[in-house]
């Protein structure tokens, strides 16, 4: 495996966005340090079984946002990302995940009160699990 990325074809989130988000998480969590090299577009394409067109789009977005940089003839590397930026990304990744969950519930015609109930239920489940550990 080139990178620990797991794609969901069932998800409504476009594939390039999933790749982008997971690489961002690997970077902001420190699992991919600045300067570490990323697989080539073609190698990642084989690994994830996704066309180079889609991989390139994810890499271009990441480069544009300053997470990675490409050095001609050398490859693609993780860029230096400021701590403040990392924090910001962490927050926005979590917000986005919860927002997606709420969106799914709304599409299935849950009311806001019901969604809040589900949220509380999941939270208390997680709390209990943590206590057991």
């Amino acid at each position: 495996m080139e990178l620990p990325i797991r794609l969901s074809k069932e998800s409504r989130v476009p594939i390039y966005h999933q790749i982008e988000a997971q690489i961002k998480t690997l970077i902001t969590s420190g699992h991919l340090a600045a300067g570490s090299s990323l697989p080539s577009i073609r190698a990642l394409s084989k690994d994830l079984e996704i066309s180079v067109i889609t991989i390139r789009r994810a890499y271009q977005d990441l480069e544009y946002q300053g997470f990675i940089k490409t050095v001609q003839g050398k490859g693609t590397f993780v860029a230096e990302v400021a701590e403040s930026m990392k924090e910001k990304i962490k927050v926005s990744v979590v917000y986005e995940a919860i927002a997606n969950g709420v969106e799914t519930a709304l599409q299935h015609e849950y009311s806001f009160e019901e969604i809040e109930g589900i949220f509380q239920q999941i939270l208390s489940m997680k709390k209990n699990k943590k206590k057991e550990e």
């Binding site: 074809k9 069932e10 409504r12 594939i15 080539s40 073609r42 190698a43 394409s45 084989k46 079984e49 996704i50 066309s51 180079v52 067109i53 889609t54 599409q107 299935h108 015609e109």
Partner: protein, 292 residues
């Protein structure tokens, strides 16, 4: 970017077999898999790219030019590997290498020796004495070492053993990264399509069903188990329906929008595997789609 290969409205009739119309585009840096039923016309189509078969209608542009305006040495920029090489039997691999390498100024002897070593090819043994799988390995070493910009491979792995197939995928990935390259590969191997292809061209009985970005197929073809029986009205992209609750669609985005709008809930959804999708497209349910 200008495509390296472009076919528009290409048609060819051979006896009572009608190929086309074919519309096809190949961009630099991409791998295109050509998939179809037996007798779909894949080999004939590949031959038209090399001007080995002349189409009756339509145009082919290679590196931006029509055939009668092809630059000199165009055939040093594109290499074609047919399903079987004819006229090789009397020679051994080393002799074949000596003939072929002369034609290609970019011939990469190091790559050739690397592939001979990797696939354990006996290059002093006469071609006729080689098993079909070893022949294919030698053919590939003789093709890839030409280091042309475009490589056209007609079912290159059909006879090869499993480890060789796996190794070849890595070889092709590395080959693609040498510089701007394009690979067109006719294949029945789903693994090749899954791991290598960016675009999938599907052909059936001479007709082109479509040229698809791989993800267009793998993320859009889905199966749904509905909570309630469906009415008779068809769902966007509907391909098949089993009973009144299990449905497959080729346009999952639109189908889901429709379900939500009609307040139809589904219990489970699942992406279809490439094998299934190709089977659907080559079966009676395949709907005609325009490229891109």
């Amino acid at each position: 970017m200008q495509p390296w290969l472009e076919m528009k409205g290409l048609k060819k009739k051979i006896d009572d077999f009608q190929l086309g119309p074919i519309d096809l585009t190949v961009q630099p840096g991409t791998i295109t898999a050509l998939v179809g039923n037996n007798g779909a016309g894949k080999s004939t189509l590949l031959k038209t790219m090399m001007n080995l078969v002349k189409p009756e209608e339509g145009v082919i542009h290679l590196f931006g030019k029509e055939f009668d305006q092809y630059e000199d040495h165009w055939n040093q920029r594109i290499a074609y590997q047919p399903q079987s090489l004819i006229g090789c039997n009397a020679f051994n691999g080393k002799e074949l290498m000596t003939f072929i390498s002369k034609w290609y100024p970019k011939w990469d002897q190091n790559l050739f020796m690397h592939l001979v070593d990797l696939f354990d090819i006996p290059i002093m043994k006469r071609y006729v004495k080689l098993s079909p799988g070893v022949r294919q390995k030698l053919n590939l070493a003789l093709s890839l070492s030409r280091d042309t910009e475009v490589m056209v491979l007609d079912e290159p792995t059909a006879q090869m053993d499993i480890p060789a197939k796996q190794m070849l995928m890595d070889v092709l990935v590395e080959w693609m990264e040498r510089e701007d390259k394009a690979l067109i590969i006719a294949t029945h191997q789903v693994e090749d399509i899954r791991k290598l292809a960016d675009y999938v061209v599907i052909m059936k009985n001479g007709k082109m069903i479509g040229q698809f970005l791989k993800e267009e197929l793998t993320t859009q073809y889905k199966r749904y188990w509905m909570e309630q029986p469906l009415s008779f009205e068809s769902v966007p992209g509907e391909i098949t329906r089993k009973g009144d609750r299990l449905i497959t669609t080729s346009r999952s985005n639109e189908a889901e929008r429709y379900f939500l709008q009609e307040k139809l809930a589904w219990i489970e959804s699942e992406s279809m595997e490439l094998e299934e999708i190709i089977t659907v497209l080559l079966g009676d349910h395949g709907e005609r789609k325009r490229p891109f």
